[in-house]
Each structure stands twice: as C-alpha cells, then as structure tokens.
C-alpha cells in the first residue's frame, strides 16, 4: 500500500507536469520576476492557461521572449507593456484598471451590491408582512374576547334563557 501511494505521488507530483525549460539567472530577483511573469501572462492559443503552464509553441516562444528581456535588464513593467502592445489586454490574467476593463473589475462589486440590496429589500418586506400579520391576529383575538365578554354579560344580566 505504501509503495502504491509513493508511485501515485510520483506520478502526480507537480514536477512531472512542469514544462518550463531550465533557465539560468544572474540573481534571484530576476528569477522571481520571470516566474511571476510567466504565471501572469496568458497563453493566447489555449486561452485558459498561463504561458508558464502551457506547452503550446507560442507559450514557449513567449517564455523565451520574457527570459531574453529580463536578461537585457528590462523591468517587469517594460515586459508587460511589450506584451500588451502586441496582444492587447487579454494577454494579462490581471488586466490593468482602465475604462475598457472597468466593468471587469467593478462587475463583481456591482453584483454584490445588487445581491445585498435584493436581500435587504426581501428581509424588509418579510418583516413588515410578519408585523401586519401579528397585528391582524391580535385584532382577531381582541374581537373574540369582546364577543365572549358580551356573551357572559348577557348571561349575567338576563339569565340563561335556554
């Protein structure tokens, strides 16, 4: 059993699926920027993978491009701008906040607000409905009591005529 577990762990370990090539960097900062970038840029062929995850040829070319630009001493911002200039905002998994992408960023907040308003209105309506109901019930109770009292008074005054 233990052996089987080990085999499965090996088969499904992340390193088996890692496709990134071996890259040598001058310093750790560069490596961090590289790893950061390839997990933020979208592979445009596969569309739902980053260029770090994808083994499409275009992804490999873009990884090479990122690597070369880092080697040339370009900043992260430079590289991101390079990609946007060529592939548009879509290349970023974290699109920049601007007029065109505003709905994308604010959409969830908008829906949250709509949801909260709906819940608030719903609860409010339920509350008033419940209050009216209890008032009505109380009204019914009072009416019943009054009727009973009237009956008793009637009996006392006139006696049982039945």
């Amino acid at each position: 059993m233990k052996k089987l577990c080990l085999v499965f762990l090996l088969i499904f370990s992340g390193s088996v699926f890692a496709i990134s090539e071996y890259r040598k960097f001058d310093n750790l900062d560069q490596q961090k920027v590289y790893e950061n970038l390839i997990s933020e840029l979208r592979c445009l062929v596969c569309q739902n993978q980053t260029i770090g995850d994808s083994n499409a040829e275009l992804a490999a070319d873009l990884r090479r491009q990122v690597y070369e630009m880092i080697e040339q001493g370009k900043s992260k911002q430079d590289i991101v701008q390079f990609m946007i200039d060529r592939y548009g905002d879509f290349v970023l998994y974290n699109p920049q906040f601007k007029a065109k992408t505003g709905l994308l960023w604010l959409g969830p907040v908008l829906f949250l607000l709509i949801g909260l308003t709906t819940v608030f209105l719903f609860v409010q309506r339920k509350k008033t409905a419940a209050r009216q109901n209890s008032l009505a019930e109380q009204g019914d109770d009072n009416k019943e009591k009054a009727e009973k009292l009237a009956k008793v008074r009637n009996l006392l005054e006139k006696g049982d005529l039945s």
């Binding site: 445009l44 062929v45 569309q47 040829e57 275009l58 070319d61 873009l62 491009q65 946007i84 200039d85 060529r86 592939y87 548009g88 879509f90």
Partner: protein, 176 residues
Amino acid sequence: MLKFLFPLVLFIVLAIFLALGLNLHPNEIPSPLVDKVAPVFSAPKLQTPEQKLTPADLKGKVWLFNVWASWCVSCRSEHPILNQMAKTKTAVIVGLNYKDEPEDAKNWLSQLGNPYDVSIMDQDGRIGIDYGVYGVPETFVIDKQGVIRYKHTGPVTAEDVQKVFLPWIAKLQAEN
C-alpha cells in the same frame, strides 16, 4: 402580477445574454496593432534567402500580410482563395512563413500554387510575436503608409474576400 413579471424579465435578460454569448468569438482577440505602423522587420525571403525584405520596401503599396505555414491545416483551406485573389492583382500579397522549415514551405507552394508576391521566413517566430500572431493563419491589411488597417484571424473565406478584403483594398488604394 409582479410575481409573474419578475421571472419573465429574468428569463428575457438571461435569453439576451445567452444569445449574445452564442455570437461571441472568444478566439478572436481584438488586435491592438490596428491603426498602428506595421512593426519593422528585416527577414530573408523564402525563395532567395540572401535577399531581405523590410516593410519600408513596400511603402506606397497596399499589401496583405498573410501568416502561413506548411504545418497549418486551416492554411490549406484558405490557400485556393489566396490563389484566386493573387490572380486579380488588386494588392501585393506578402507571406510570413511562420515557424516552418524552408524546404517544407517551398514544397507546399510548388504543390498548391504560390499566391505570394514574396514570402519571408520567420523560423523562430519573432516577427510573429511582434505582429501579435497567436493562431495561424492571420491576415493583415496594410496601407500605403505602412499602417495596419485591418486584421483577420483564421482562414480567409471567399465571403471574407468579397465583403471585407476587397472593400478595404479599394478604400486604401484610393488613399494617398
């Protein structure tokens, strides 16, 4: 009344969104390169690698820049359309032979016909990156000043030629 109205409105809104969704083409990413100057390159010609071509050589001409490769299946379907278009000589057709082996590319052209006035080689895909190429075939329409005016992703169909490319070319030919 409101009880019935609300689901109805919800249904209509949902139906509209779904209908719009059906007509979206998520594979077609709008290119930021439209209305920008075509990126500069200097690349060897496929048939005569010792000669190079740059966009400046095409100044004053309306040209189509068609990205193709012998390994690309849908390029095969658009190839006859390009051949037909080349016969009319309405615009210069430049091919970008993208990430291909020159021998394979030459064989492909000799078998299927060569619609290109000239093809250039981009074996390592760098020109492709500069043009934001993400799926072959792609076709750019470039004006006399060397500005990209239109980009088409995917195989060009006969309908595209009639409805999109020829009108664009006619418009750009009329410009200075």
